[in-house]
């Protein structure tokens, strides 16, 4: 039983770490602010809960596990609010999203232009 938990926890931590790196890579590759916000969403919405559940599986059931669950709920509940506030502030500041309406993907050369 403990072996299974150990492996499950390791898997969660590995996936969470991988997703964190993906979020960072996305942050660097995306062309403008708004698409970068999407990339950073990966770390907040899936990587953080995965890392926290990985830790949760390793600890004994106690008050601390309740706290970890509370952190998870807090991260998931505040993420949309923070993201929305950031996007709205950017629009208010006069920056407009890049748009490619003519049916072409941005492609690799679009990155790091802005």
């Amino acid at each position: 039983m403990t072996v299974i938990l150990e492996w499950l926890s390791g898997l969660c931590l590995l996936l969470g770490g991988g997703l964190c790196i993906s979020g960072g890579v996305g942050l660097l590759r995306m062309p403008d602010f708004f698409s970068r916000v999407h990339a950073s969403g990966v770390t907040e919405t899936l990587a953080a809960p995965l890392l926290l559940s990985g830790l949760l599986l390793q600890m004994e059931l106690s008050l601390d596990s309740v706290k970890v669950i509370m952190i998870m709920i807090l991260v998931l509940a505040t993420n949309p609010t923070a993201t929305h506030a950031m996007a709205k502030a950017t629009l208010h500041g006069g920056q407009r999203p890049l748009e490619f309406a003519n049916g072409k993907d941005i492609g690799g050369d679009g990155s790091s232009k802005l």
Binding site: S22, G41, V42, H84, K88
Partner: protein, 155 residues
């Protein structure tokens, strides 16, 4: 009545967070609970009425479904991030909404923002402005699966 319920809830949260149960610390906790409830009472003069999401079984089912959607769109987004061609086509469009109550609107806008790939930038009377990493994201929202699920919650 509502204040009693809120203070009980705040007290439970405090007890879970504290973990120290000596008389002195407990009395500090009681004082902080009272202060928080007093703040809530004061806020009521600014904000008309407190609206709280009802935690019904259907609500929990919706949240589980939402988490699953979050996982799915994360997989899609990670695939796009690592693709050497970077297949994104950002759009920023108007999304007409059918939900009317402020609670349902809040839930809908937050659900859109929580799923990576779509982001609500503005909430208006009858529409949202949604930024999406690819037109598919907005098309999926226009099909209305998520909105119907929220409407069925009856909030």
């Amino acid at each position: 009545m509502r204040y009693i319920r809120s203070s009980l809830f705040v007290a439970v949260v405090w007890l879970l967070l504290s973990g120290h149960y000596t008389p002195l610390i407990l009395s500090f906790g009681a004082v902080s609970v009272l202060i928080v409830v007093w703040f809530m009472w004061r806020m009521e003069r600014v904000d008309e009425k407190l609206e709280v999401l009802p935690m019904r079984p259907r609500m929990l089912y919706y949240l589980l479904w939402l988490m699953w959607q979050v996982v799915l769109s994360n997989i899609d987004l990670v695939r796009r991030i690592w693709d050497p061609d970077l297949p994104i086509r950002p759009t920023w469009q108007r999304l007409d909404t059918k939900v009317t109550s402020s609670l349902a609107k809040t839930l809908y806008a937050n659900s859109i923002t929580l799923t990576p790939g779509t982001l609500t930038t503005d909430v208006r009377e009858d529409h949202f402005m949604v930024h999406s990493l690819s037109p598919d994201g907005i098309e999926d929202l226009r099909k209305g699966g998520m909105e119907e699920k929220i409407q069925r919650l009856g909030i």
